[in-house]
């Protein structure tokens, strides 16, 4: 039996460009359509309280799924995701707040659906994501030398540094004062420890779930590709991964950058949400831990598991409002129990559809 090399096989597996394009685009198109349906039909039906919950769930999915790329797929234990949120959130808020004042004279919402204000907001999300991704390179570099607890401490330090830097900024300038200044001059006026008040509230279910669709498609395609398997291989056995030709340093940095990019976007969505104020106290170490818990509970490396955990852990505090003081102890307890009973998390590395639960359900039905 002959086993020809890869290069000799590619021609025979070629698919027509149109087929490939359709296969490439439909999941995203479906996601955008679903986001639109949620916005237009679900939101009016469930009222503002539950609409906000749906919004929170979406943002939690973006944040936890992005953290899953580095913690779950890559096995690089990062507990500084709030730091990336902070960079993305403040960068985006700065752009929309001061940008609005420059363009339209006030920081109020501007234009309708996909109008000028919405476009500025989307630009802010991308800007925040890109800045966070750049920070991801810097935070990723120590991962080349450190592992386990030591790397976790570095990422923790990064989150705290971001928090302290933001606390040192001056008060937010009101529209009248900001109008005379250039955009760069306003960059140090981010509200300090009081938080960045007055950020226009552009975050809506549609935009959040478009980003949910993007991050899930990216995570899924990454996991199913050779690049993603290389990342998992580094997590499983770094020496063997290197011996199989995987550039472990590059793979780690790429995972940090991808994770940070979506962490930044999650932060930007958070910053423009109605009813939340962007402030350094909110995005502290506990926020990072909350996201880590979602990843660990859901299953390190399981996209669907982490989505389930993000949904559950966002609903739970709302459902048990009277217990909200005990939230962190309950999380901690849940985490300990999971570590003992199921150390790989709810799903391990597997996805919902790998486990065959639906087959079991059908069999039981008979």
């Amino acid at each position: 039996m002959k086993v020809p090399p890869l290069a000799d096989r590619i021609a025979k597996h070629r698919v027509p460009v149109a087929v490939a394009a359709a296969r490439s685009l439909w999941p995203l198109a479906a996601g955008i359509l679903l986001a639109y349906v949620l916005q237009q039909f679900l939101a009016p039906l469930i009222g503002p309280f539950y609409a906000k919950l749906v919004l929170d769930i979406g943002i939690a999915i973006v944040l936890a799924s992005s953290l899953n790329i580095v913690n779950g797929f890559g096995g690089q234990f990062s507990i500084g995701h709030a730091g990336f949120m902070m960079i993305g959130g403040y960068a985006a808020a700065w752009l929309t707040y001061y940008g609005s004042i420059h363009l339209w004279g006030s920081a109020e919402l501007h234009g309708g659906f996909l109008g000028g204000g919405d476009l500025l907001f989307l630009a802010g999300c991308l800007f925040g994501g890109v800045l966070a991704a750049l920070a991801g390179v810097v935070v990723g570099l120590p991962s080349l030398r450190l592992r386990g607890d030591y790397l976790a401490i570095v990422t923790l330090g990064f989150g705290e540094i971001m928090r302290v830097l933001v606390q040192r900024t001056s008060d937010v300038l009101p529209a009248a004062d900001a109008a005379g200044k250039s955009l760069t001059e306003t960059a140090t006026h981010l509200g300090g420890s009081l938080g960045f008040g007055g950020v226009p509230t552009y975050t809506r279910i549609f935009y959040v779930y478009v980003f949910v669709a993007i991050v899930l498609v990216v995570a899924y395609r990454l996991k199913m590709s050779s690049k993603g398997r290389a990342l998992l291989a580094v997590r499983e056995n770094e020496i063997a991964a290197g011996a199989m030709g995987i550039d472990t340093a590059r793979v780690k940095i790429v995972s940090f950058v991808t994770s940070a990019f979506f962490g930044g976007i999650g932060g930007a969505l958070f910053a423009h949400e109605l009813g939340t104020t962007l402030n350094p106290r909110e995005l502290n170490f506990m926020k990072s831990i909350e996201l880590v818990i979602m990843v660990v509970l859901g299953g390190m490396g399981s996209i669907s598991g982490v989505v389930l955990a993000a949904i559950a852990l966002t609903i739970m505090p709302e459902a048990f409002r009277s217990f909200s003081d005990y939230r962190m102890p309950i999380y901690a307890l849940a985490l300990i129990v999971v570590m003992i009973v199921r150390p790989q998390g709810l799903m391990g590395i597997k996805e919902l559809w790998d486990t065959g639960w639906w087959r079991r359900v059908i069999r039981r039905g008979k």
Partner: protein, 258 residues
């Protein structure tokens, strides 16, 4: 020209000379053995050749090009693959994914193509899957493709290690104790397999093995290490009779009066 060549290769861990002035030359398509008692430095030699350790002195050439000082991943891409004595599979991944991971190293699609799923990427992934299935078939573990690697029986884990190494399309294959822990029929099957691989892939093989029967049977040339020093090198028949080798394995013959 040798497929793999090491000249004057030395490595010391503190005061311990783990490998001392090693000379190895494996011609293309050859099957060479590297033997020696426990702690002789055999696995250290593999770690030097594959870039896990940097040699203190000496040079390593793969197909004539220097590879010493390069990263392990670059050396693997240049065409040197290995298996591990203490099995190092990607345990949580499926058997198929272990092989696909290694085969994917020859793919040219970057991150963006992978995320956008371009036609070239799709073709490559299909080719990777096809090739991985064929390798599993060849190694006789195709029926376990969907299982987690860590759940395989020991012998199958060793086979998977070989399948994974072959997936990187090597010119030279380093096998570290491929039959360790196997029973006689399994060993017999593995011997046939190693010889078959060499013919089918045209790959040169350097083999570490404690099973003398196997080594003497299939290797054309054997290098014997003891305490990092090459004590003998040559054809199996000559090695078997070499007094230094016998001494290293069995100890010095007792002399009168002792």
């Amino acid at each position: 020209m040798s497929a793999l060549e090491a000249k004057g290769l030395s490595l010391a861990f503190g005061g311990l000379r783990a490998v001392d002035q090693l000379e190895i030359a494996v011609p293309a398509g050859a099957l060479h053995g590297l033997i020696g008692p426990n702690g002789a430095g055999k696995t250290t030699v593999f770690n030097l050749l594959t870039g896990v350790y940097l040699p203190d002195t000496g040079e390593i050439r793969l197909g004539g090009a220097r590879i010493d000082g390069k990263k392990p991943s670059a050396i693997a891409k240049a065409g040197l693959a290995r298996t591990f004595q203490n099995i190092r599979l990607f345990g949580e991944l499926t058997v198929l994914d272990n092989v696909r991971t290694a085969a994917g190293v020859r793919a040219t699609s970057g991150l963006w193509r992978s995320l956008l799923r371009t036609p070239h990427y799709l073709a490559e992934e299909a080719a990777i899957a096809e090739r991985a299935h064929e390798l599993l078939d060849l190694l006789g573990i195709a029926h376990r493709a969907g299982e987690q690697a860590k759940s395989l029986p020991y012998g199958d884990q060793r086979r998977l290690e070989i399948a994974r190494a072959l997936a990187t399309e090597p010119k030279v294959l380093l096998l570290d104790e491929p039959v360790a822990g196997m029973n006689t029929p399994e060993k017999h099957a593995m011997r046939g397999l190693i010889q078959a691989l060499r013919e089918q892939f045209g790959v040169a093989i350097l083999l570490i093995e404690h099973d003398m029967g196997l080594v003497m049977d299939i290797c054309e040339h054997i290098t014997v290490l003891d305490h990092g020093v090459t004590i003998a090198a040559g054809q199996p028949a000559a090695i078997q009779k070499d007094p230094k080798v016998i001494e290293a394995y069995l100890g010095a013959p007792e002399t009168e009066g002792n």
